[in-house]
């Protein structure tokens, strides 16, 4: 079952999609229909956070989101988040402190943290931020360098 045309704004660009099955997940639409593979597929059950992207600015698990649910919304992926000053600052902090090992979880962390900072502003308490990042899993870093990246972002916040 498909619906004729579905409209989204993806990384600022109006996008019209044909014949998207009603059961298609936003994760698959973004990765395989739009070719934006920076969004990673991990567990597909909402358990790892690797597929996090922004829907109208809010961190969203794209594996648990049907594409038709977000019709008309603005989608931001890791490929487009550099355009946002907060996103660019988050990416720069992850790079600068080396909060990257295999890198598979990295886009999910970048998007979650960017969304949290945009939602709540940089006055958000450090502990609160860390608490809300705990839905993103990383098996390589032990999170230590990621916590350092979060601290670095806050220091550099305007």
């Amino acid at each position: 079952m498909t619906s004729p045309v579905l409209r989204l704004t993806v990384n600022g660009r109006p996008t019209a999609l044909d014949s998207v099955p009603v059961a298609e997940r936003l994760l698959d639409t973004v990765r395989w229909r739009l070719g934006l593979k920076g969004t990673k597929e991990g567990c597909r059950t909402g358990g790892c956070g690797a597929c996090t992207l922004l829907v109208d600015g809010r961190p969203t698990l794209s594996c648990l989101t049907l594409t038709h649910e977000v019709e008309g919304s603005g989608i931001t992926t890791v490929e487009g988040v550099s355009e946002d000053p907060v996103g660019a600052r988050v990416q720069a902090a992850f790079e600068a402190v080396g909060a990257v090992q295999c890198g598979y979880c990295t886009p999910g962390f970048v998007m979650t943290l960017t969304g949290l900072l945009k939602e709540r502003g940089s006055a958000e308490a450090f502990e609160e931020l860390l608490n809300d990042l705990a839905g993103n899993l990383c098996r390589c870093t032990g999170y230590a360098s990621i916590v350092r990246a979060v601290a670095a972002v806050r220091e550099k916040s305007p």
């Binding site: 099955p21 059961a23 990765r31 395989w32 934006l36 593979k37 920076g38 969004t39 990673k40 597929e41 991990g42 567990c43 597909r44 059950t45 358990g47 790892c48 690797a50 992926t77 890791v78 490929e79 550099s82 990416q91 720069a92 992850f94 790079e95 600068a96 402190v97 080396g98 990257v100 090992q101 295999c102 890198g103 598979y104 979880c105 990295t106 886009p107 970048v110 860390l130 608490n131 990042l133 705990a134 839905g135 993103n136 899993l137 990383c138 098996r139 390589c140 870093t141 032990g142 999170y143 230590a144 360098s145 990621i146 916590v147």
Partner: protein, 734 residues
């Protein structure tokens, strides 16, 4: 940290790198596996017709392989698909490919698989209720039996002042790389090409050749950025199935495991039971007896490496003149035993450290003093007769003891501080080769591995090249080539990359520098530098652009090429001590001492780790930030083994928690700050004395946590993980 020290960081934060999971090919089909509905049984039929009836679907199973492979046959003991008997639940019995993944999954579900069940074996203790004490050697369930002995063990136990006997149980743990196993296969004529997320392209080539019966020179394996390995991607997995599907379809096929399949089919560390017996007289260990019952899943008899390798870790890094160790690798109806970052060593360290701490308390001596008294020092020999050399663990332990004492003084009431030790064998003899290409502008290291995240390839090999040549890191580039073009290397596993492959790179560089020296009229030593926009050779105060040393052919090619190889020597053990089976020697000793501070909720048994310190014997620190990151990450992974991770198997071989919600790995809020200290100067066999650091950080963690839990609460827990119910039970039974 500058960007150049982690050259992949920029592309990774921008989401620009193509991992294995991101690969595709024009005209590609999507694959799915059909798996066995029972853990053990006769495979009566695999009916592909309902799958083939769906439009566009290609399906293959064992019966189809003959024509597909044109009469060739692979290793009969490890066919791609079973012909007669399934030996674990969800064992792949067929595969399908279709134009979309939903259709491929629908087709896989439509295949009718009939299995006539045979009783399955799952719990090793249920198979051998009389263990220990009975000879299991003749049982068909035994995949391996190892036994070694020195001295008069029975007499030593009879005459000892105190004998302590305990039984420990450890759990099944899963690597949990976030990227599932995935590949894209493409078969044209006689060329079997697969692009895959792997820790060992050459290992996959060897496996594919063996499983499918295709000559190695017809198989080309091309790696991709790997989304985490941890041992789970060290051998082939999805590649043979994808290649068979591509061969049948005449089109490229992408095959990825779902995350549920990662758990259900994944090779992993399986449960074990260990009986520890220690005899002590006047504060000295006079004899030890260790018995291991290790679940090795459907590992093949004679091919079980785990039992003979792991059992040595159960004696720990301690002197012991009189001992008996006996291990059985027990076949069960589970997937084959597979590597998981320092396979089985964290479990062994938990057992031996917890036991010796218990022994010390029983005889009334300080556990750390007791361990320090028995710890290996340079010049000692291991139980199996290997000489210990360049061993930094005693130094690491002294430093850890200082921190533990300070933390004990400063910790709030109710907190407990514990210490755990572990040792490991790095720089395995598995070999490697490398090629270096010097151009006027850059030094390129051409090799066969891909970066799995640790930095051992991208950062480690570059750091070795920087130290050997003097050229700055940003003029050194690591280049990857597929198995048709890269020099051979065994793989990114066993903490061997910098040690073994790094030695091959170092050898190639020494050959390169020797060539330059020779062409410079025998000047020596020659090093490299970057001056005025060109790479120069340096000797004393003299400088010349390296391009001046190129011969005509090299000038035309624009580069001077040199090669190097490194095939390490395995250690040797005293075979006169071996009564049965095969024990595997260690190659280059390293060790670590960890300190943990925890609190324990006395009602629920829940453990919280407050702070953590790790002291590691590394030879020399090849790259400070990567080294620190390895330890931080390894400690976190070890906290999972210690506290939450446990794959639960039913009596009929069913995995009960195949997903990240029910199999819990540590989250950001559960990992404490980790202080990392490196002990340098105990030089190993790697370049400039480097020792491996990929695996050691996970090893002492469960031991340190158990020690801290006991200090905090008195709970002596003899099973992993230290889940709340186990800790609570141990508290109640005190």
């Amino acid at each position: 940290m500058t960007a150049s020290m982690r050259p992949d960081a920029r592309a990774k934060v921008l989401g620009q790198l193509a991992f294995g999971a991101d690969l595709e090919a024009p005209g590609m089909l999507w694959g799915a596996l059909v798996t066995a509905p029972a853990a053990h049984g006769h495979l009566r039929s695999v009916d592909l017709a309902p799958a083939r009836a769906l439009p566009g679907v290609v399906a293959v199973a064992a019966a189809d392989l003959g024509p597909l492979l044109s009469g060739r046959s692979g290793d009969p003991e490890r066919p791609a698909f079973p012909r007669e008997t399934v030996t674990y639940r969800n064992q792949p019995v067929a595969a399908v490919a279709a134009p979309t993944l939903p259709l491929a999954r629908e087709a896989a579900a439509a295949v009718r698989v009939v299995v006539e069940p045979i009783p399955a074996v799952s719990d090793v203790e249920a198979v051998f209720p009389d263990w220990p004490g009975s000879d299991l050697g003749a049982s068909p369930h035994v995949a391996a039996h190892v036994l070694a002995r020195r001295g008069e063990v029975d007499r030593a136990f009879r005459e000892a002042g105190t004998v302590v006997r305990e039984t420990y149980r450890t759990s099944s743990v899963h690597p949990v790389a976030l990227e599932p196993h995935v590949c894209v296969a493409e078969v044209h004529d006689d060329r079997w090409t697969v692009r895959t997320s792997t820790q060992s392209p050459f290992g996959v080539r060897e496996d594919v050749s063996s499983i499918l019966g295709v000559p190695e020179e017809s198989v080309v394996v091309d790696g991709a950025w790997v989304g985490g390995g941890f041992g789970g991607k060290g051998a082939s997995f999805v590649e043979p199935y994808a290649l068979l599907l591509s061969r049948a379809a005449g089109r490229p096929v992408r095959l990825a495991l779902s995350y549920r399949e990662e758990f259900l089919l994944g090779r992993t560390t399986l449960p074990a039971v260990v009986r520890m017996e220690t005899a002590v007289t006047s504060g000295r260990i006079v004899a030890r007896r260790v018995r291991l019952l290790l679940d090795v899943g459907t590992s093949l008899p004679g091919r079980d490496f785990a039992t003979g390798y792991a059992i040595g870790f159960l004696l720990g890094p301690y002197r012991c003149p009189t001992f008996e160790i006996e291990g059985y690798g027990v076949r069960t109806n589970k997937p084959p035993f597979g590597p998981h970052r320092a396979p089985f060593a964290p479990q062994c360290a938990f057992v031996v450290e917890s036991h010796l701490e218990h022994v010390a308390r029983e005889v009334g001596v300080d556990p750390l003093a007791f361990k320090a008294d028995h710890l290996w020092h340079d010049g000692d020999t291991t139980a199996l007769g290997q000489r210990v050399a360049h061993f930094g663990l005693p130094t690491a332990l002294e430093a850890a003891r200082g921190v533990a004492e300070e933390w004990r003084r400063t910790a709030p009431a109710g907190h407990g501080v514990g210490v755990g030790l572990g040792f490991w064998s790095t720089n395995t003899p598995a070999g490697g080769e490398a090629r270096v290409r010097l151009t006027p502008k850059e030094l390129v290291v051409v090799q066969g591995e891909r970066e799995i995240g640790t930095g051992s390839v991208l950062v480690g090999l570059a750091a070795v090249a920087e130290r050997r040549t003097g050229l700055p890191r940003d003029r050194i580039r690591i280049e990857y080539a597929d198995t048709a073009h890269a020099p051979y290397d065994a793989g990114v596993f066993g903490s061997r990359t910098v040690g073994a492959l790094g030695s091959a790179v170092d050898q190639a560089l020494r050959n390169l520098l020797a060539t330059l020296a020779e062409r410079w009229g025998g000047r020596s030593p020659v090093t490299l530098g970057w001056e005025n926009g060109a790479i120069v050779a340096r000797a004393g105060t003299a400088r010349r652009p390296v391009s001046e040393f190129f011969n005509a052919a090299e000038s035309e090619a624009g580069a001077l090429v040199a090669e190097g190889k490194h095939y390490g020597q395995p250690g040797t053990i005293d075979e006169s001590l071996v009564v049965a089976g095969t024990f595997y020697p260690y190659t280059d000793f390293t060790g670590a001492a960890h300190v943990a501070e925890v609190t324990v909720d006395r009602e629920t048994g829940s453990v919280r780790v407050v702070r953590y310190a790790a002291f590691h014997d590394v030879g020399w620190v090849v790259d400070p930030l990567s080294a620190r990151a390895q330890v931080e990450g390894g400690v976190a992974m070890g906290l999972g083994t210690a506290l939450t991770e446990e794959a639960l198997w039913s009596d009929d071989g069913r995995l009960l928690n195949p997903g990240l919600v029910d199999y819990r790995i540590p989250t950001l809020d559960e990992v404490p700050p980790v202080d990392v200290t490196f002990v340098e100067g105990f030089l190993g066999a790697g370049p400039f004395g480097a020792k491996g650091l990929g695996e050691p950080p996970i090893i002492p963690v469960p031991a340190a946590i158990a020690s801290a839990v006991r200090a905090a609460s008195g709970a002596h827990v003899t099973e992993l993980p230290l889940a709340p119910e186990r800790v609570a039970r141990a508290l109640k039974s005190r």
